[in-house]
Point group: C2
Chain length 248, copies 2
């Protein structure tokens, strides 16, 4: 196992940072790393908003509810961004151009471009000894998330990445067994994979029991069922369409 794979394997989300800010050179190398990720046809359909202003962090904290949105070394927000491309054409925009921009296909392109860039940023940060945590919780109120950052049309805020100096190092969370997510040459029917999930349910029960800080006793299946019984963030769909994404 080389140093890179070791860093990848060693990942855990950090939710408790000191308030020591990242240096400018750390931020620069993390963002440059993000930029080197692959991008569909080199369209680079994403933007990153770096948040260092405590007032902006506090506003985002109100949306997310997580302390590490307020207290971290730096906060990056990843957006799907077709605004740049929309603006390039200026007044000559044709109907076909617009139809293209507003397609589900282009929403997928922007979302994947942003996520690939983010994961490069995450690994670069971890390679510098920093901790990271993804923040989907900022979509708890996607309109407010958008408004705080003053995003124009054709820009959708997807998630945050809190980065900083860890104040604690939690255990690594077990994942589903490899064969539960990895299929060969064609999709394996769920019936044949069910026992891997039962195995994982036991793993997660043991994992939670072994932790002092957490009293969760649920299996993964129980967690999933509880989570999906309650529709959440149902405003994301209409919001995204309102930004001229994912319309058809």
């Amino acid at each position: 196992m080389n140093q890179i794979i070791e860093t990848i394997m060693n990942h855990r989300s950090i939710r408790n940072f000191s308030d020591k800010p990242l240096s400018n050179s750390q931020i620069k190398i993390i963002v440059e790393s993000a930029q080197r990720a692959s991008s569909s046809s080199n369209v680079m359909a994403y933007s990153i908003i770096g948040v260092s202003d405590q007032e902006v962090k506090d506003k985002l904290h109100t949306i997310s509810g997580h302390a590490h949105v307020k207290t971290n070394g730096h906060l990056l927000i990843f957006c799907a961004d077709l605004h740049r491309i929309d603006q390039l054409k200026g007044i000559e925009h044709t109907e076909a151009f617009q139809t293209n921009l507003e397609s589900t296909e282009q929403f997928i392109v922007g979302t994947i471009d942003a996520a690939l860039a983010a994961q490069n940023a995450a690994i670069a940060a971890e390679s510098l000894g920093l901790g990271i945590c993804y923040l989907g919780s900022l979509r708890n109120d996607i309109q407010a998330f958008n408004d705080v950052l003053k995003l124009p049309s054709h820009v959708v805020p997807l998630f945050g990445l809190a980065i900083g100096f860890p104040k604690e190092i939690p255990d690594i969370k077990p994942r589903l067994p490899l064969p539960a997510i990895y299929h060969e040459n064609e999709y394996i029917p769920f019936e044949k994979q069910k026992h891997f999930i039962q195995e994982y349910d036991q793993t997660m029960k043991d994992y939670y029991e072994s932790r002092n800080s957490n009293n969760k006793q649920e299996t993964w299946t129980e967690q999933i069922n509880k989570k999906y019984e309650k529709p959440t963030r149902m405003d994301v769909g209409p919001f995204v369409k309102g930004k001229n994404f994912n319309k058809h």
Copy 2:
């Protein structure tokens, strides 16, 4: 610059592989690396299909048109996957559960989960001296892409990742200048960023002129305009809804 950031900075897409297959241990470490990426609330809403069967590769090659889909060391297909979660609940499915699964929010979750896993796989592969290329081109016919892999409901094939032993090492492609994609504390209006794009147009012109193998003389702006004038993959939107994703 550490070894990890060096690997990230050194990325270029490889489109010419030998047909030497990856070893099983290489595949295992790459997939395990993918699994260690962050996942929204640990739902792991993605699956990976590893393609080693030449017949399956050939079928996918017909869809994509790129030679490196046919000739590589291994091919990974990344899917947004809520099928596993859908199946967990079995016959007790409530309407609320279904509404949740079929939301745009959950389509975003699956797409991001898959992309973060993929970028871990890409970096792990590159750290082993292998080359990679993302394949959005498999969405050229997303229904056929789906059918070749026998994907059930609630699974959407997103892209491929061709991995292998490089037969050539192309130049690193320049990206937009950092300030064109990186904003601070709020979104910077396009007017203030325009000159970075003009700068990049010149960079890309120079880049193409310096390459022997490629006669492209277009600026990035010209490429973008040409690309978006022609709506493509407009069947992706209806296909995704047909898989019970992204419906509201």
